[in-house]
């Protein structure tokens, strides 16, 4: 009898922690989400609905330029990081041999260096040694360093069960390495690539700590938001945060639907469903 009681207590504690953590994470987001749609934005309970804030946000040309720059930064850094990480993952798994540990240590080292240090170090390198002014390109390159390690991790978790005998089979039947890659490897690993691209895009799009030092005078959404935040929180910032949150949730929603319909699995392995 006592056993079931403690077990039930354990269950409740676990579930309570879970729910409280979700509340902790989502309460601020929901709060500013409501606030951005309400006239009384500091305490929108009950909200008096309005779309003025969003109108002002989307009508503001600074935010428009910043959005476009962030988009370029995100796509550039994510594409670069994903392609490089794909090459690195394939290289690590197929060709590294005994030096795999060494390469892996280098490839994941950026994870263990704080973003702000990457930003500052790149600023010093570009500014002092190469005499380069900060611009979007330098920001893309520096962001790609940080994103690369995340992309590598995401792809490694996806690919470590990949059956390389499929490639060998294609080669045995006379396919060139390039053709093997495009007709066998790529179709099988694209969910990993897509996952890595999506995650690194979101990271680079939102990044401030690296980009801040390398952008020069180029505005991006986080840097504009940071600038505005110094003069106190305005309702436009609530609207901006809400808009970005909605886009991210939409993206994950699309991922979820793709998984549900079986178009892509994103690393979900049904055969392991009963672990723990």
């Amino acid at each position: 009898m006592r056993g079931t009681l403690t077990r039930r207590l354990g269950t409740y504690t676990l579930l309570a922690t879970l729910i409280l953590s979700y509340l902790f994470l989502y309460l601020p987001i929901l709060h500013i989400g409501l606030g951005s749609f309400a006239r009384n934005h500091t305490f929108p309970y009950p909200p008096r609905w309005t779309l003025d804030t969003f109108g002002r946000l989307f009508g503001n040309s600074l935010y428009q330029t910043a959005f476009f720059n962030s988009l370029v930064l995100g796509i550039g850094a994510a594409a670069l990081a994903t392609v490089l990480a794909a090459a690195a993952t394939l290289g690590l798994m197929r060709h590294a041999g005994r030096r795999a540990g060494l390469y892996l240590a280098l490839f994941i080292a950026p994870l263990f260096v704080a973003e702000v240090l990457v930003g500052i170090a790149s600023l010093i390198f570009n500014g002092l040694l190469l005499q380069l002014q900060g611009n979007l390109v330098s920001a893309i390159l520096a962001n790609a360093v940080h994103c690369f390690s995340y992309a590598l991790l995401i792809m490694a978790t996806q690919l470590y069960r990949y059956d390389w005998r499929l490639d060998d089979a294609a080669m045995v039947f006379g396919a060139s390495p390039l053709r093997t890659f495009f007709e066998v490897t790529l179709p099988l690993i694209w969910p990993g690539l897509l996952g890595a691209f999506v995650v690194t895009f979101i990271m680079a799009f939102n990044n401030l700590e690296i980009s801040f030092y390398l952008l020069g005078a180029t505005p991006t959404l986080p840097s504009v938001a940071w600038g505005a935040l110094r003069y106190g929180v305005k309702p436009e910032l609530y609207a901006l945060a809400t808009a970005v949150n909605l886009v991210v949730i939409l993206g994950l929603g699309v991922m979820f639907v793709l998984m549900l319909t079986g178009k892509a699995r994103f690393g979900h392995r049904p055969e392991r469903a009963r672990a723990v």
């Binding site: 953590s21 601020p28 290289g91 263990f112």
Partner: protein
């Protein structure tokens, strides 16, 4: 022959990329830390002045210690919360496990600035918590805004998602039949946890700790917008050297200190791990 060439390109290009854009910049930061700045200009004479300033200027030592304590406390709190959360997701998540984990990652993916803005909406002087308290007729809580407590709450908010994800992945790859085996041989649930579950997931837990500790140690945004007058952390002070005060060389020295501190912390944590005891079998090339 061809395969070898392909292997070299696959590994070589990312290596060159990282050497040029990651290792070289860090090295140039080290070099700059031994120069000095005068009136916003870099003077190339080798000296240890920056490090002497950092070691003797009481404020910098205080910032570093405060940052270390803050990062340690925040990482521990994150792990204490993340364990039950990921365990609950694994146990009761069923087929929605991935969705539940992704739901945890949503806030992580929306950018630090925007999350700090959201937190100000929650904790601020006229934020949700205080507005509710005042509507109920009680006094507003002063300690949750512009204090070190607020910074800590902010950092937990920022880095909890990644710790949860890491521990979740560790638990996902953990073979639960081992617990059953322990129980069959008469271990109590507590003993099974202490002797099987915990040590076998220690590696994942420590990775989560490190991935939370390092960014917390060099946090710049959170102390600036949530911390108060006594809330300056090392990363924030470092960022100021590159902004308002323009003393790049001193900032570079602070960067080196921060970098070394992170490395030492990682090594200290890493030394406590006996990889074989944690069930580590290689780099997943099986």
């Amino acid at each position: 022959m061809k395969g070898r060439w392909a292997g070299r390109a696959l590994l070589g290009v990312p290596t060159v990329f990282l050497l040029a854009l990651f290792v070289l910049p860090l090295l140039s930061m080290v070099v700059l830390s031994f120069w000095r700045t005068e009136n916003y200009h870099i003077v190339q004479d080798w000296n240890l002045g920056n490090y002497i300033t950092l070691a003797t200027g009481g404020a910098y030592v205080t910032f570093l210690i405060r940052s270390l304590v803050m990062a340690g406390v925040v990482s521990l709190v994150c792990i204490l919360i993340a364990w039950p959360v990921s365990y609950a997701i694994i146990l009761y998540g069923g087929r929605y496990r991935l969705l539940l984990t992704l739901a945890f990652a949503v806030p992580f993916l929306t950018g630090e600035v925007l999350r700090v803005i959201a937190l100000q909406g929650l904790l601020g002087p006229v934020g949700l918590i205080n507005a509710v308290l005042m509507a109920l007729g009680s006094a507003p809580l002063r300690f949750i805004m512009y204090t070190n407590v607020a910074s800590a709450i902010g950092l937990v908010y920022l880095y909890l998602p990644i710790v949860v994800t890491v521990i979740y992945l560790s638990l996902l790859n953990f073979d639960a039949r081992l617990i059953d085996a322990a129980k069959i041989f008469g271990a109590s649930p507590l003993r099974a946890f202490v002797e099987v579950t915990w040590p076998l997931n220690l590696f994942g837990t420590l990775i989560g700790f490190v991935l939370c500790f390092i960014p917390c140690l060099s946090a710049t945004l959170v102390p600036r917008f949530l911390g108060g007058a006594n809330g300056t952390l090392y990363g924030m002070a470092m960022a100021q050297q590159f902004g308002e005060s323009g003393t790049w060389a001193l900032g570079a020295a602070m960067g080196v200190v921060l970098f070394l501190t992170s490395i030492i912390a990682v090594l200290l944590v890493g030394m406590r791990v006996d990889l074989r005891r944690t069930g580590f079998t290689g780099f997943g090339r099986g």
